[in-house]
């Protein structure tokens, strides 16, 4: 292809994108906030695909260690895989809040232009950070690299300039939310959400300063990793879920708000000090054994409580709704959260056993199912709610044209992640046993565990289920672009539930 031809094609592509964007912005079915939300959802899906791609590459490197060696090393693939996951979750959450903000407050979003600007700034920054990750993989670590290339902290490797940008974007998001609720109607959901966003921005600061003592550094680092995930994200998802249940199933506000308050209370009672299970082996005092063990053991209680409520609701009410894909993903959310966070978490959370499992593939097994079950599922459910509204609030229930697509995507994604989880569990069990317990965490033990047939077979199965997950992800992307197109039947109005 000549340079001129390439330029022509690129110009045509850019022109096509601009035209489609202009058409989208003229969509009469969506409010300003919802259009901004769809922007966030679109980037979230692109990042989800990136997460799957880099996860597959990292998985392949377990099977073929020389694959892409010194071109795209395992540490880079793993970093992009996890960073993409963290960021697409955030994009999904932020988009979901923008989606329901006007509906919940009863007024147009205050400072929407700032929100739109923040979206483009964040997306540009994410793109730049990933490109830097890929193009500058090696080099000395110093103050310059910390500010411009890579901060070096696992999971939050973004350089300092991007850290500051993230906080500014979250504060802009906070301004949009708080100012809109202040101008419009206040609600229980609004109160919890606004306070949670303060914590979301504030806690990130704990990962932005550097100390020379590795134990102290890790101590603060976990504030971001654990408290973001098991405190602020949980509450954020609770707010999103509360609004979704009102819209999807017609649940009364009084009910969802009461349960939202209970969730916040349980989070304060268990999730915050559950942080202690990360402090077992980083050089912190021994009292963290008791605090971490005790409060981590309390963390599954909300999940068991959820079972009672689910049975109560299904026994007393019927799950009548006009968006079957969204409800299916909310059901997947309950099971995934229960198994991934509850069962897989409690199996290895106490220090008596965590001594052997910490940092093995067991953690990866727990992480895969817990993140997928607790967060990916609820984001996907929300994407389907958005798709329905964007197509003119059409029927998206049974006998939907090409309904096989969302069902196949859901089956492939759920089975794929569950399969990866079990495969990693086997690998982690073998590592805990051989590397940690038998060989006493020596280098020889590490390599003995890595080369053990159980570990290697588990990695093959992880790859098989990883491919299944990727196929499901691709199908999901396709379905979200196409679902509801050409559908003429309006969505049934969900009446308030009959008691």
């Amino acid at each position: 292809m000549t340079a001129t031809t390439f330029q022509d094609k690129a110009a045509a592509c850019w022109s096509g994108c601009k035209q489609r964007h202009a058409e989208f912005m003229a969509n009469p079915h969506l409010s300003g906030g919802q259009k901004l939300a769809v922007h966030y959802f679109t980037v979230a899906m692109v990042l989800f695909m990136a997460q799957l791609l880099f996860g597959l590459l990292a998985g392949l490197q377990f099977l073929f260690p020389s694959f892409l060696y010194e071109i795209l090393d395992f540490n880079v693939n793993r970093m992009v895989h996890i960073n993409a996951m963290v960021v697409w979750m955030l994009y999904g959450f932020i988009g979901s809040v923008y989606w329901f903000l006007e509906d919940e407050s009863g007024v147009e979003i205050v400072g929407l232009k700032w929100g739109q600007l923040a979206f483009w700034v964040l997306t540009g920054a994410v793109t730049l950070v990933v490109l830097v990750y890929l193009f500058i993989q090696f080099g000395a670590g110093n103050d310059t690299s910390l500010w411009l290339i890579n901060e070096g902290r696992e999971y939050i490797e973004a350089p300092r300039w991007a850290d500051i940008g993230i906080v500014v974007v979250v504060l802009t998001f906070f301004y949009n939310v708080a100012a809109t609720f202040a101008k419009g109607q206040w609600s229980g959901i609004a109160g919890v959400l606004v306070l949670d966003l303060v914590a979301l921005a504030g806690l990130y600061l704990a990962g932005m300063f550097y100390v020379t003592n590795i134990s102290v550094d890790q101590y603060w680092w976990w504030w971001v990793i654990h408290l973001w995930v098991e405190a602020t994200w949980e509450v954020l998802v609770g707010c999103i879920m509360a609004w979704s249940l009102m819209k999807l199933l017609g649940v009364r506000r009084q009910i969802v708000q009461t349960w939202l308050y209970i969730e916040v209370a349980l989070m304060f009672g268990s999730g915050i000090l559950g942080l202690g299970h990360h402090y077992f082996w980083i050089g912190t005092p021994e009292y963290w054994f008791s605090i971490g063990g005790f409060f981590s053991a309390l963390e599954p209680i909300p999940l068991v409580a959820m079972v009672v409520h689910s049975v109560y609701d299904s026994g007393v009410h019927r799950f009548k709704n006009s968006n079957h894909p969204a409800l299916a993903w909310i059901i997947a959310h309950t099971f995934g959260n229960f198994l991934g966070a509850g069962v897989w978490g409690f199996m290895h959370t106490l220090p008596q056993i965590n001594l052997y499992t910490h940092g093995t593939q067991w953690s990866a097994s727990h992480g895969h199912l817990a993140f997928f079950g607790a967060y990916a599922t609820i984001n996907i459910a929300f994407f389907y709610l958005a798709a329905q509204q964007a197509r003119g609030n059409v029927w998206m229930g049974g006998d939907l044209a090409n309904g096989w697509r969302w069902k196949a995507a859901a089956i492939l994604l759920n089975l794929g992640v569950l399969g990866m989880t079990v495969a990693l569990l086997i690998a982690g069990y073998e590592q805990s046993f051989i590397e940690r317990a038998v060989e006493g965490s020596t280098w020889a033990g590490y390599f003995a565990a890595q080369n053990h047939p159980w570990f290697m077979q588990a990695m093959v199965w992880r790859m098989v289920f990883g491919l299944m997950t990727a196929a499901g992800g691709g199908l999901l992307f396709w379905d979200l672009v196409e679902i509801g197109k050409g559908e003429q039947r309006p969505a049934a109005v969900i009446a308030s539930q009959a008691e």
């Binding site: 009084q254 009910i255 008791s290 049975v311 109560y312 509850g342 008596q352 308030s496």
Partner: protein, 111 residues
């Protein structure tokens, strides 16, 4: 040292009993709630049998994890908490789902 790690020979028992505690707690909660809705005595008995199995798992888990001293409070908390929690949640469900004749629209009123 404040803890005595699980013995190599008890690895499986530790993982398995921990998983069963959560799964049986959920099963007990589901059976308890179902028995309330259906009003069937057999489901109530099944719930109690499940709870008994849960207690066995808590005891086994406490044993293989060498719980002693204040760690036994955790065993007690699990045994009592998972038994009491479904009843508490059921009461909350019944209370929060009381019909509200003033507000019939989905989403209802704002505070």
């Amino acid at each position: 040292m404040l803890i005595e790690p699980v013995a190599l020979s008890d690895f499986f028992l530790s993982f398995f009993s921990a998983a069963l505690i959560i799964l049986l707690a959920a099963l007990y909660a589901a059976l308890f709630a179902w028995s309330k809705i259906a009003g069937r005595r057999s489901l109530g008995i099944a719930a109690w049998v499940t709870y008994f199995a849960l207690l066995v798992c808590v005891a086994l888990f406490s044993y293989v994890n060498h719980f002693s001293g204040y760690w036994l409070a955790l065993s007690l908390l699990m045994a009592l908490g998972y038994g009491w929690m479904p009843r508490f949640i059921w009461r909350l469900c019944a209370a929060t789902h009381q019909p509200d004749h003033h507000h019939h629209q989905p989403g209802g009123h704002h505070d």
